[in-house]
Assembly symmetry: C2
């Protein structure tokens, strides 16, 4: 088959939408804005989950589960929180259907109206801090280091698979601490954990930083973030970690007896990454032939395709492939041997390229005679022929090389797309012609930030961490500025 994939240069956005569907990652469902994550896409997400879960546990967190429903009154308790989420809440108002009296079908039973409406969680701070009130009495009960893997719902008007969907899957960590310092350290730590995951496992370089006040999470006093850069020059926020101060403890009256015998409000953090990471993964590495996956997250790391005519040739190949598959699996490599006779090798090559399988091994008659294998890399499309005695070692080293290479390639792209500018005209020009991150001086006011956003659609992605200290003048107002911040158009 041909891939019939729109190219990135033709239409990047269309290329992405097609790729997600054609590579069997996800598709739109019959429910507006909600996606179906298909088995191949979900297998990648499972690998992400497993690694993140391991990292959360290594940093002292445990998993728990809290209700999907949040009483409307809970949401109202933290003022800026409700303001942030009220406009995108799915609201449950009834708990029963019944047959319509006119026989027209099933209708909502108006006798089964809830006394208080329930919100399908857009995030769980409120229900969790209502619970923590029962869990915390004394400093001995702190810290609470809890994470939850869950689905959340935010009613979005414009949705795109993985990037912005009405329902999405995520994890949300919610920790409770005795001191401001400890909570701040935790929030910062989780930014580093996310960055490590993005870079070492997804192969996606990220910039760490904090958000400006206007871009902060609703209810946070500080938001740490990791920002990635896509191939079209747009930024993508890949994970956030919030220092919530005592806002939720005050809203839900969560106090603890201190060591010294006093009473104090508890300090909080929350942090999350979602299936949006799938979007970042796809857009960072993939090319016009389809998906490119980092070996660490690829559901199939190596696919073996036999090239044969007739069952006799196939049997001869299979006899040789059996022990190779076993050997690779024993080394922890996930291998698929695709001997389907319903499809030609060329079709299979295309299919696995489209699906981003890092290595493809082909075995034909000549290989059989010579005791060789042809190995093709997905990232560079390079092929080489290797002998039977070195094939296993070669697979291992190539998988590592691919993991490093795609990271390096993405990093090079990002490095060449951070442009320092010193005037607003230059800023607009770079934004228009090149995209990427633009490093500029800003006077620190909301007003200037809003003006830039309105005029150019670029936002401050982050105040980098560690800071780019440098004396300068705001490119818009000329007011003094002590550090550069990073602007970009963003997903």
């Amino acid at each position: 088959m041909g891939k019939n994939l729109t190219t990135r240069s033709e239409d990047y956005s269309k290329w992405y939408n097609e790729l997600v569907v054609k590579a069997d990652l996800a598709e739109n469902s019959g429910v507006r804005g909600c996606m179906v994550i298909k088995p191949y896409g979900f297998a990648i997400w499972e690998k992400m989950q497993a690694q993140l879960d391991k990292m959360f546990k290594e940093t002292g967190h445990e998993n728990a589960y809290f209700p999907i429903f949040i009483p409307k009154s809970y949401l109202s308790k933290e003022a800026s929180h409700v303001e942030g989420f009220a406009k995108e809440c799915a609201v449950v108002t009834h708990y029963r259907l019944k047959n319509a009296e006119d026989g027209s079908g099933i209708v909502v039973d108006e006798d089964a109206k809830l006394e208080e409406e329930l919100i399908v969680r857009p995030t769980s701070e409120t229900i969790i801090w209502d619970t923590y009130r029962r869990w915390v009495q004394s400093y001995r009960d702190l810290p609470i280091m809890v994470n939850q893997w869950a689905n959340v719902v935010r009613w979005e008007m414009r949705t795109r698979l993985f990037l912005r969907t009405t329902e999405f899957l995520w994890q949300e960590g919610h920790t409770a601490h005795a001191t401001r310092e400890e909570a701040m350290e935790e929030a910062e730590q989780m930014m580093h954990v996310y960055a490590e995951f993005a870079e070492d496992h997804m192969g996606v370089p990220v910039i760490k930083g904090t958000k400006t006040e206007s871009e902060r999470f609703a209810g946070a006093e500080e938001t740490f973030c990791i920002e990635a850069l896509m191939q079209d020059g747009k930024a993508l926020q890949a994970g956030t970690s919030h220092f919530l101060g005592q806002n939720f403890a005050k809203a839900f009256d969560v106090k603890f007896a201190t060591k010294e015998g006093g009473q104090e409000y508890v300090w909080a953090t929350s942090w999350g990454v979602s299936t949006r990471l799938m979007g970042a993964l796809i857009m960072t590495h993939s090319d016009d032939n389809g998906l490119v996956l980092p070996p660490k997250l690829a559901p199939i790391q190596v696919v073996i395709v036999p090239i044969y005519k007739g069952m006799e040739q196939l049997d001869a190949i299979s006899e040789r492939i059996g022990p190779l598959v076993k050997e690779l699996r024993s080394q922890g490599v996930s291998v698929k041997y695709d001997k389907r006779d319903t499809h030609k090798p060329g079709f299979k090559f295309n299919e696995y390229e489209l699906k981003g399988v890092p290595l493809r091994i082909a075995v034909g008659q000549r290989d059989l005679a010579n005791g060789t294998y042809e190995i093709a890399r997905r990232d560079t499309l390079e092929k080489e022929t290797v002998g039977a005695d070195t094939v296993v070692a070669k697979v291992s080293s190539l998988l590592e090389e691919i993991q490093d290479n795609i990271y390096k390639k993405a990093l090079d792209f990002r490095t060449s797309h951070i442009t320092p500018v010193d005037s607003y005209d230059e800023f607009k020009k770079v934004l228009e012609e090149k995209g990427g991150f633009i490093s500029a001086h800003w006077d620190g006011t909301r007003e200037t930030e809003d003006k830039i956003k309105e005029e150019t659609k670029a936002t401050i992605r982050c105040i980098p961490f560690p800071p780019i200290k440098e004396e300068g003048k705001c490119m818009v107002t000329g007011e003094p500025s002590g550090q550069r911040v990073l602007f970009a158009k963003a997903y």
Copy 2:
């Protein structure tokens, strides 16, 4: 601390409710009927999930994810399905909140009413079969072997932690097949997988069988089940697997091109187990001292408690415990060394008994002098002293022994609580005085089944599989019967 736990003989139901909370497994939330699963309880559920997921993958299934919302019209498409679920549906009618005009707070925005109401999934057959219509064209696309881990909502009037909650966690397998035989085999296979999991991992003996028509899943043609017996003599349905025939394929128009060139509707199964299994686990093994956990599912398998006065003694013990912990972990044993100085050993002993930790190792001054450890089993409460050279081997063998022993104990209890009866009077007497499963002849009619249920509250738990073939007469009507079925009162 004393455990202050109501005993089973005092009030079994109260014992259960208290135990779930005191052992830190779960608690009620501020949302009616929805529970919070606490970290310790969730760690057990995670172990269940990991094992089940492994077994599903070994039997050829993949995970995927489908939307939480189901359009009302979808639910209506399969007649018996909507009848089964309409009365317990949480209904989303709006997608936005706003500030009340009179300033009284946040209210539902009536301008944001959905055109079609959405149901929070009570189960996913309808949304999944709407999706499968897009996935299936030809026999080459079959079978589809998909599982989903998800939360579901069924509006329950009376709820109990784990056993019956408005929201619960579960997995739901949904497979699609080209033939009736293949679908039937799959449905039956999953019953066997569930039984193996219950018995070999949870240590819960189960009876396999099929449901009578009245107890079948709404939309199924055959329901396979596993039934467990709790210590109070009541049965608990621990898992079900449904042969759905072509019902959902017809409702959602899912046809495939056969090898022979015809068009046929696809055959379906669905199967699920839920956090209800936690209830079965707790009620099968636990005692008046608290939880008893099978080693295979215990988050902590071994706890080590030092008995000391002053830091010098503690340091000497810790020096010896360090290498032991390392050695046990290297063998895959999960160990906790609890050297908190805020609690006395007696308090800790009680706490870990309450939490069902299978083995406790205590080390005091005499042990230090003699090079010994005191090991206590949670299941039998027996203690013994072992030397340093045998302790690791002893832990391994005891963990296996406990796993076997609690299964055997539960099996003995169940065996002694299957009572064959031949008259309705005897049936009522056994049900009243002893409980458990009652093996009796039934004429196969819904009428008789309903009469027995109405008069005694006992239901037919299953028609055992393989069948107990025996000629006899229905205990109520005297009509001929070719096999015995199992009755019980149930959770």
